[in-house]
């Protein structure tokens, strides 16, 4: 036979290995009490100590974040967006944003509770707040941001059972200027990170309850994990990464439960179902609830209408489709507006301006326009101009040949074999003729998608394509923006590629025909799930549409861990009050070094274990390996999940996207450095190793404190000359040329 015995033997050997591990684990289970006791660095004394330290961490982190919270008293950076969106919730006007609504709803709620009335316009960064109550919103974000160090402290304490590791982590996060700055303003990031850390903490706590399944704390932490997951996803889609982390952790957990033969399949089923409930159904329900609240609160027409489909708009008070009534089927002689089905596709539009010299034929422009306008109106005609008829007008059917006349300019929708202005492989679409008389190139065949010959065209609900008779191409909106001559409206072309895409599908939105009976459109009101789906599609499109512009400096993911370049939150010049979002470089570089160290240490530890090196002469060595592999592994996975996906994203990226990953990296730093110092006795004899341990810890805390003292003006504001000036407060601290302070 060709499969060699070696590989099989190995496979068997590995399998046996695993089963023996299982056996030992089962033994441990049987003597659960004893195991608990074994791990016990948890003595009552330690418990009290850790509580004291926890309170210290809470105090420190709240004081660093709430210090100078009112400064500067003007709009900083993205506050212009998120503050504005908070106001929209207070005013209940509909808007569009690429992120899910929870974060902005919470900001709005915080503002509302603290007496902000939603009247401040948040026009642009640098605008003064004056008498408006902004402290509530900032204070809310800062409070959530202040929870991060305590959460991290508890998480690391759970993972490593080491007070020093937890303290290192807490110090790193509490004294990082980047974390402080990003928590102090009206932004989504502190809210997002609060939920992410909350989910991680409750997941770790839940893992600790492994030996007491279905007890009250077990359920509590499970449900709390689920709640935090839905919160994280409800703020930004980045929450998906932490969901993935929890999912992987749960899968591993279930896998080990499945391998436990003492557990009957029934019990395993219970475990599985309870996790499905706590980690899938419950978060899903909460997430949907968030959107339900979002749609209920925002019921007035606002700046976001044009992004959504016609049916969606009919929900919004103040929109012309709200409570509207119109004839149900498209008829000849009707006045209509035609909307492209591409998300944010715009209405078919024309105006008196002609295409400029050199762009196809010099005829009237036809474009797609996102806003409602009188120039979006078109008249539906038969090819031969005989509309004058009495009685009920004829209805347009699938396969009919029609002519579309622009109501304002009386030109016909026309196409011919000239190349389109931007999409060179398509044909140009123009307005041609006068008073409705044109030529055979004005004829279009109506085709209802999925319809058959003779089907009627339903207003709003039918997807319609317009096929050009003469050339066989299909009316198409490319989504490209025309240059100035086209008023930066969207290009409309005639595409020779007949694949059905939303770009070539249109629907009839307004439909005016006095000779036909109107029906109420309230029947069209979309189902809640349809709205939910549509708003997600719009958000995802919007997200991927955030492409970097040519002349904009784009931040690259590899810049982030090395703290290459920060973000200007406020102010540029010497005279202004400047805040610069930049991580404390000492801390960030420490994190970076720790990542490398961690990989080396894990490689060494797992090789040693694999080769059966006698590490376990002393219990402590084995415990370190376990903390390093399990706790550290979980955190490394978290870091990877929150960092690596950015490399594949095509959208524009900013420095602050790294902060969730930075949380994980900081926790890993705590565990790595602590383990490194603790295992000093591997190569040093006892008195010296102890000195090294204490000395190292002291050095570490001093370095963190000192660097915080040096760099604190980044967060708490700088005035006066820039760093290159020797008189500046930051003189000599511009360690990298790319920093802009």
């Amino acid at each position: 036979s060709l499969h060699r015995p070696i590989s099989n033997k190995e496979c068997v050997a590995q399998y046996k290995d695993e089963s023996s591990m299982l056996r030992s684990r089962r033994d441990k289970m049987n003597t659960g009490e004893q195991t608990q006791h074994d791990q016990g660095i948890y003595s009552p004394n330690n418990e009290a100590q850790s509580t004291v330290f926890f309170l210290l961490v809470v105090l420190l982190s709240f004081s660093t974040r709430l210090y100078k919270i009112m400064e500067p008293p003007h709009v900083c950076w993205d506050e212009t967006h998120f503050g504005k969106m908070g106001s929209y919730y207070i005013n209940r006007t509909f808007f569009f944003d690429v992120h899910p609504p929870l974060g902005k709803m919470l900001i709005g709620l915080a503002g509302y509770m603290t007496g902000y009335d939603g009247t401040y316009p948040f026009l642009k960064p640098g605008d003064k707040y004056e008498h408006h109550n902004y402290w509530g919103m900032r204070g809310f974000c800062a409070s959530l941001g202040s929870c991060l160090p305590p959460f991290a402290y508890l998480t690391v304490l759970e993972l490593s059972q080491s007070l020093t590791a937890a303290l290192i982590t807490a110090a790193v996060l509490a004294f990082d200027t980047g974390c402080i700055t990003i928590s102090q303003y009206i932004l989504l990031d502190p809210i997002l990170m609060f939920f992410i850390m909350g989910a991680v903490l409750s997941m770790v706590k839940f893992n600790r309850q492994r030996y007491r399944p279905f007890s009250a704390p077990w359920w509590f932490w499970l449900v709390l994990t689920g709640v935090n997951l839905s919160g994280a996803l409800g703020v930004k889609f980045v929450g998906l990464f932490v969901i993935l982390l929890v999912g992987l952790n749960t899968a591993r957990d279930l896998w080990s439960l499945l391998g436990d033969l003492h557990l009957s399949l029934m019990d395993f089923g219970k475990h599985l179902l309870s996790r499905v409930f706590g980690l899938i159904l419950l978060p899903l329900f909460l997430y949907v609830t968030i959107f339900a609240v979002h749609f209920v609160v925002l019921n007035k027409s606002g700046p976001g209408d044009g992004f959504f489909s016609s049916a969606f708009q009919s929900r919004l008070i103040g929109n012309n489709l709200h409570n509207a009534s119109m004839p149900e089927y498209l008829a000849y002689g009707s006045v209509i507006t035609v909307k492209n089905l591409r998300i944010a596709g715009g209405y078919l539009h024309s105006h008196w301006h002609l295409y400029p010299e050199g762009v196809g034929a010099k005829q009237q422009q036809v474009t797609a326009y996102l806003h409602k306008d009188y120039n979006n109106m078109w008249l539906v005609h038969r090819p031969n101009d005989s509309d004058a008829q009495s009685g009920e007008p004829d209805l347009v059917r699938h396969g009919d040949i029609i002519r579309l006349e622009h109501k304002e300019t009386t030109r016909n929708l026309h196409s011919h074999l000239h190349e389109a202005p931007l999409t060179k492989k398509h044909f140009q679409v123009t307005g041609y003729g006068i008073n409705g008389t044109g030529d055979p190139n004005d004829l279009w065949q109506v085709e209802v998608c999925g319809g058959q010959k003779g089907n009627l065209v339903k207003v709003l609900r039918s997807k319609v394509r317009f096929l050009h008779r003469a050339t066989g191409c299909v009316l198409y909106s490319s989504g490209k923006t025309l240059p100035k001559w086209g008023w930066e409206q969207v290009e409309v072309t005639c595409s020779p590629y007949l694949k059905e895409t939303p770009n070539s599908q249109w629907n009839i939105e307004d439909h005016i025909n006095t000779k036909l009976p109107n029906i109420s459109l309230s029947v069209l009101k979309p189902h809640f799930l349809e709205i939910l789906l549509e708003s997600h599609i719009v958000m995802i499109r919007g997200n991927s549409g955030l492409k970097p512009k040519d002349n904009e400096m784009n931040s690259k993911p590899w810049h982030w861990p090395i703290n290459y370049q920060g973000l200007r939150f406020s102010g540029v010049n010497e005279t202004e009050y400047r805040v610069y979002l930049l991580g404390n470089p000492v801390i960030w570089w420490l994190n970076l070094v720790s990542l490398g160290l961690y990989v080396v240490m894990v490689a060494a530890a797992s090789l040693a274990l694999r080769r059966g090196v006698q590490l376990d002469k002393r219990r402590i060595g084995r415990k370190h390996c376990r903390v390093l592999l399990e706790g550290g592994g979980l955190l490394l996975l978290g870091w990877l999940l929150h960092y690596v996906p950015f490399y594949t994203m095509g959208r524009i990226l900013y420095y602050h996207h790294y902060f969730p990953a930075m949380l994980f990296s900081s926790m890993l730093t705590g565990i790595t450095l602590d383990t490194l110092l603790q295992s000093a006795d591997l190569w040093l004899r006892p008195p010296y190793s102890h000195w090294l341990l204490r000395g190292g810890q002291a050095m570490l805390f001093l370095a963190i404190l000192d660097s915080f003292y040096m760099f604190h003006p980044l967060s708490y504001g700088m005035r006066g000359p820039l760093a290159h000036d020797p008189d500046s407060t930051m003189a000599g601290l511009k360690w990298m040329d790319s920093w802009e302070f």
Partner: protein, 706 residues
Amino acid sequence: MLTSIKLPIVIRAEINLVLVVVTALGLLSRLYGINFPKAVVFDEVYYGQFVSLYTKQVFFIDESGPPLGHMILAFGAYLGGFDGNFIWNRIGAEYSSNVPVWSLRLIPALAGSLCVPLCYLLVVELGYSHLTALGAALLFLMENSLIVQSRFMLLESVLIFFLLLAVVSYLRFHNAQSDSPVRLAWLVLTGVTCACAVGVKYMGLFTYFLLLGLAAVHTWQLIGDRALSNVSSLGSFFCLSMNISSVVLMQVVGPHDQMMSSAFQASLEGGLARITQGQPLEVAYGSQVTLRSVSSKPMPCWLHSHKANYPIRYENGRGSSHQQQVTCYPFKDVNNWWIIKDPGRYLVVSSPPRPVRHGDVVQLLHGMTSRLLNTHDVAAPMSPHAQEVSGYIDFNVSMPAQNLWKVDIANREAEQEVWKTILSEVRLIHINTSAVLKLSGSSLPEWGYRQLEVVGDKIYKGYQPSGVWNVEEHRYGTSQEQRERELELHSPTHIDINRNLTFIAKFLELQWKMLTVKHEDSEHKYSSSPLEWITMNTNIAYWLHPASNAQIHLIGNFVTWTLANLALAVYVLLFLSYLLRRRRKIEDIPEATWCQLLQAGVVCAGGWAVNYLPFFMMEKTLFLYHYLPALTFQILLIPVVLEHLHTHMCASLRRALHGVVLAGLSSVYLSFRTFSPLTYGQPELSAEQLASLRWRDSWDILFRRR
């Protein structure tokens, strides 16, 4: 030892006749009538350009992908004695008599035929029976899409060949006895073929990662084998990692490395090496140079100017300075020559030459038109946020010359570093406005002959390759007079490369326009999305006879595709059920069988996944043929799953399975037969026959009604 010397020299040969037959069938199916049609078929139009460039020995930097594939195709052209004189501009164009169609298509076809025995070997190496392996080879043999793709000057078959060879040789390495010396050879072969696969298409990288992962797991098992001493396990670990990673890394880095590719081009006797040998290293005042943009997006090009001015008004109504155009031109041209001038001094190199150093201020004089490189506060034609760059013409309109540039060597090792040919990456910073000379990335409209736009960028930050230039061709200028200088510029740097420059210039211009059209729009009639590939919802018309109904399509064998999908689904089900049941200590199959199934899954299902799933992340235009490497691995899964079912079934079902296998094979054969006219392009079918072949509504089969 002595006894072995006494033995006579003996060669014992074992020939696996099945392998021979399978190879012969493969050769027959792939090579039969490959010079039909004598016309450009589909993407041959694209690869043909590169082949021509290589055979005409024109220097160019190939940025379209890794170069090995193009080199392999060019080797075919070289064997056939192709002189490169053919205009690749239209699919379906008849080949002229100087094009050796047979030899151009020979190498891909050979690679495609050799895949058939490789499939056989792969399944055998996975530990399955010879009959199963034969089944795999037959299924692969009768796969219409793979046949079509092998029979033309295209690269997929070469890629598949390397991928299969890499997997086979790795399995050979793994299965070989640990002390045999041949073992190492297999490992080296794995590395080399992986490198070749990556060299043909970057997609090969993913299969390399798969093998690397497999090797890592195997090594980890080896390390865990405590029977081995520390030293030997470490030794084997190092041996494995060094071999695989070093060979491949070297090769992967290779294509990006200027020197590596130029070395190859030197071997084609027309490359960079010939251009650059004998050039002075240090750029001096008075040097005549061509400046190449370090960035190769959208394409590699040289700083260029010509006797045409910016239009007074652009189409959008904005005005320009109406001075001479400065562009970036992707082809060698006498108008790419510039002279580095000391402001206010002569144009010739003094003796000894005064080298230009980092931080020096220079003027750049366009050789043919004697205009100085200039930029000013006028918006550039296509990128209005940046400054226009022009050859300065004094129109007496109070627009003074601003033609001083500071030389900033980006990769300097010392201040005061001398500007070196090729090696130095230089930023040219404008003195008056501190704008940086930069390639904007957009191309000019018709008035600028669709050349690339060059601008002065005032908000330039950090290191952007588009703002960095290097000197590629260089000589010390000797003539002060304009007329003499023109003559000098027209004479090539070292040896005459382009005797008939005008023809080549036109030829290249044409090609370049075609390329830009290709780049501009990602929409294509036959493009498809990865989801459509699994069910073969799409096809590609490769060629259509200009007069008759004879045509060639990329359509797979529908039965095989369905069976492959089924096999994958069955495999996943089997795997999951075994996995879960084993976790509960219920062992349906022996340990060894489980390991074998696992390995087959990693290779076949894993090979399918790594060659398919990455396409979901790609934004480029995708075609059905991108799926073929994945399909190859998926097909191999069919016999593997069948054999597994066969061994672990009760006897009564076994007989039914025999019947199913026979029926399956014969329907595969029938389907192959039915579609072979579309595969080979002959015999011609009638319109009715063609219509009956349209098994799916989404297939695009063209026919003329007469």
